[in-house]
């Protein structure tokens, strides 16, 4: 396998972007990514998208986006793994370059969620239609059960979760691309509307529009495009049961552990090497489960990581310096690519006031469903 590098990146602002369509968002992010690398044509395009068919009545995003990007003829395909679609698309682009088939690949995630669809029910189609959706449960309820289980075991408290939202908003307030650029307090979280007990509105990532794009090239060709390429040192993907109730321990995201162990093995790195991480905080409790499963913190450390500062900027492993899904926003198909863009910026020393000093190794973890699929990428400055 050839070594693969990220050589360019671009993204839209995340938010309720009512003046931009699905294709507008994609093209804006893709052109920014291409421009950053001085490239105008690629060998292949991977589009990460969860549910444009349901959200805006449009499948077949591969040719649509190649066409609207002015790249007539270029192979282009959509990759879907629910909210992990962006990470999964990155993995496909990685394999395409690694195989020797392509020398320059565009990977872009996009989602347009605010055009009037019944968002919570569309998202629920990422859970088990026959055993979960049919009985009326949606994702806030599924993650609430994970949170409740952890609280009943005494491993995580409500206040631990409040602090995760506070920390991620503090980070996101410094991110010009974030949907919510404002700090919130523990009190704000504790008093916000209950959604699915114990999860309140400020424990939940928002409904967002947005797109994010990266350009991949073989590492030995990367300096044609940038003097600061970032190597993809490891890529790991895993699946678990799609239905939460089918797992031996629903509070343990085994899929995250497995995907991470595969990525660490490919990178030849231990978790101690990771200096910062973007993890899938679709609900605050997910960030706790992920830190544990990624071996970035042990049980009580993980639960209290935001409160103690362990996972805040300046702490042992800053987590979600971008603001995470919670503050930056969560256009589901774009999220996995946007996570990697935060690492790309950090590892190149371009993260502005959010910069983690002397960052060499970062990890991105992107999740689908209630932990049915997970993709982990480990990035390294070269």
């Amino acid at each position: 396998m050839r070594d693969v590098a990220i050589v360019g990146a671009g993204m839209t602002r995340f938010g309720e972007l009512w003046d931009a369509s699905l294709r507008d968002l994609f093209v804006e992010a893709a052109l920014a990514g291409l421009g950053s690398a001085g490239a105008d044509r690629v060998d292949s395009i991977y589009v990460g998208n969860m549910a444009a068919g349901q959200f805006v009545g449009q499948e077949h995003l591969g040719p649509l986006m190649a066409d609207h990007l002015g790249m007539h003829g270029v192979p282009a395909v959509r990759i879907e793994s629910a909210c992990a679609s962006g990470g999964a698309a990155l993995r496909m682009g990685f394999l395409d370059i690694a195989s020797g088939q392509s020398d320059l690949v565009l990977v872009a995630g996009v989602e347009k969620m605010t055009d009037g669809a019944d968002v919570t029910n569309v998202l629920a189609t990422a859970s088990d239609q026959e055993t979960e959706v049919y009985h009326g449960i949606t994702f806030p309820g599924l993650y609430a059960m994970i949170a409740r289980l952890r609280m009943e075991r005494g491993t995580t408290t409500e206040e631990d979760l409040h602090w995760i939202a506070v920390k991620n908003h503090r980070h996101g307030a410094m991110n010009p691309k974030a949907q919510f650029r404002r700090e919130i307090s523990v009190d704000d979280v504790a008093r916000s509307t209950m959604v699915a007990e114990p999860l309140r509105m400020l424990h939940c990532s928002p409904v967002s529009d947005g797109a994010a794009a990266v350009l991949l090239a073989p590492l030995d060709q990367a300096r044609r495009y940038t003097d600061r390429p970032v190597r993809i040192a490891g890529s790991g993907m895993a699946t678990s049961t799609i239905a939460l109730a089918d797992r031996p321990d629903p509070a343990d995201l085994d899929v995250v552990r497995l995907s991470a162990e595969r990525a660490y093995a490919m990178a030849g790195m231990s978790p101690e090497r990771v200096q910062l991480a973007e993890v899938h905080d679709c609900f605050t409790v997910a960030e706790v489960c992920c830190l544990e499963a990624l071996h970035l913190a042990n049980g009580s450390e993980a639960s209290q990581a935001a409160r103690t500062g362990y996972s805040a900027l300046g702490g042992r492993v800053p987590v979600n310096t971008s603001g995470g899904l919670k503050s930056k926003g969560h256009p589901v198909g774009a999220t996995g690519v946007a996570q990697v863009i935060e690492l790309f910026d950090q590892l190149r020393g371009e993260a502005g006031e959010r910069q983690v000093p002397d960052a060499h190794v970062g990890l991105a973890q992107n999740m689908g469903g209630s932990g049915a699929s997970s993709v982990v990428h480990i990035l390294e400055r070269v």
Copy 2:
């Protein structure tokens, strides 16, 4: 890149399979494919599917199918390129093996279309939502315009098209997996209900349920699984404008030509080497356009190929010996994989009464939309 072989295959019958769900269909095909190769676990799974979110309210098919197949933990992702989803999924599996990442990959396409969804409108989400669907056109109308254009130019007649349906039903009558195992006459076609002038019901592929699966391995490991592996000699993908009206010549499927030329180049073969082909006859006129664009017949030869026997069993290049989409059925996400299974059977000499004598090289062409995406694979007996 490592050489890649198909080492096993399995599929369900195609048809209105009301007693089987989406996951049932997938698992039946996948287990048949695994069984044929004596395998029980793979390194990676690619699911070709166009629109299960819209058809049956289920996205996130990667983990769902890995889970229901009993392959906990295995990386699994859905690949979508409208009706070319199966071919695109095969290409991803090919790249995964070629890269060295995986040593055994399951590629399976599946679609469940008869569960009550508004099928024609769901399929229309593969065309351009903003410039085509919004104005009310669906695929029968788009392909009817292609047919009308060819008829007005005098390159293709209505009767040429009738013969394609007749030929494909003759082939399909010999295929135990086909949805319509009966011969039809030119008169039957000419008298069938008009759908979108000049296309009548018997010019159109049906609405179908079904799944098809193949197993891929590196060629140098293939004999662990079978003594008759079939090599993927070439894989080519291309896109064109998603909207038919945006193409310089809507009657010319440039996307097919480009994808074929890429596959021929990778295989190091000229079209003369191709002894049989499965092409995307979603409407009869598509088979004419494809034969031309694949360089398997020139203009008038292509139009008259079914009538003259050129493309029938026993002719110069038997086309759609499986019955094609027209007679075998067209569960859209499964089609691209099922095409390749027909070639796999033919190249191994296992096609029964449909056998093309001494077949060494076959080509499969799978199309998305009205020619917005196309995937071509060239298979070779080894």
